[in-house]
């Protein structure tokens, strides 16, 4: 599959009040859902043979991991990263999958500290879209080596994302 170039991002999307209100309404902080989402992430990482899988909720200025597998270092300690470093911001901005086969040569990602310093090289993420139609984040897998992703891979990621959003919606408070 051809890597996405993530063109024409909507810079206003991340701080959309309606989108942030949707995230607030989901009550992710007090739902005790991390364990369930991390199990799905672990399953995805094993399926793709990649070390890291994430349920990333993209806030206005940071991405926040509500489920994860394989994280270490500052990302694990902080539970997220600044939004401008993230691959997942592009999923939200474009409301579409974002595929990076080799981040060292990707125009949107090659300067990110996650690539330059943390060594992330490949990424595939799909939108987490709530039942009300808001993109709240990305379900993604990533790894330290360049690799390609097929249409089948993308379809499988979409299935994981659907499971994630169903679990999240079951705990909606708003």
């Amino acid at each position: 599959m051809t890597p996405s170039d993530g063109s024409s991002p909507d810079a206003q999307t991340l701080s959309s009040t309606a989108r942030l209100r949707e995230i607030a309404d989901l009550g992710l902080d007090d739902s005790g859902i991390d364990g369930i989402l991390s199990e799905i992430a672990a399953e995805a990482a094993a399926h793709f043979g990649l070390p890291v899988a994430l349920v990333s909720i993209v806030l206005d200025q940071a991405q926040y991991f509500r489920g994860s597998h394989g994280l270490d270092g500052s990302m694990a300690t902080a539970g997220g990263t600044p939004a401008e470093w993230s691959f997942c911001q592009h999923v939200v901005r474009n409301r579409a999958p974002f595929i990076v086969e080799d981040a060292q040569h990707h125009p949107l990602m090659q300067d990110s500290p996650l690539v330059r310093i943390e060594g992330i090289r490949c990424y595939a993420g799909v939108p987490l879209i709530t039942f009300r139609g808001h993109v709240i984040g990305s379900f993604c897998v990533q790894g330290p080596d360049a690799r390609s992703f097929t249409k089948y891979d993308l379809a499988q990621l979409q299935r994981y994302a659907k499971r994630v959003i169903t679990r999240i919606e079951q705990r909606r408070r708003g």
Partner: protein, 95 residues
């Protein structure tokens, strides 16, 4: 040898000023919440004794994150950024 030189600099991560945080909050949720949150964080900081600006920002983020509205989302976002800064700025030991 131990150094506390922030590697956050290497990552290009800087923290916002308090004025920038309040301005963002005002834009998102209005002046009342923004000013209240800032005073709460400052008061708590004074009660706890002298602390650095990083701790003040973290406290503000965590206090806001406890809210169930858009201000809570903003607070979680701020807390992640500050916690990243702290994680990257921890003293590192070298030979």
């Amino acid at each position: 040898m131990t150094t506390d030189q922030p590697s956050a600099t290497v990552y290009g991560l800087t923290l916002p000023s308090e004025a920038e945080v309040i301005a963002d909050l005002m834009r998102l949720v209005g002046a009342d919440v923004a000013i209240f949150a800032s005073r709460e964080a400052s008061d708590a900081d004074e009660e706890a004794g002298p602390r650095g600006y990083v701790e003040l920002l973290l406290r503000l983020g965590e206090q806001l994150a406890a809210r169930s509205d858009v201000a809570g989302v903003f607070g979680r976002s701020l807390a992640v950024r500050v916690n990243t800064y702290i994680a990257l700025s921890s003293p590192r030991t070298s030979a």
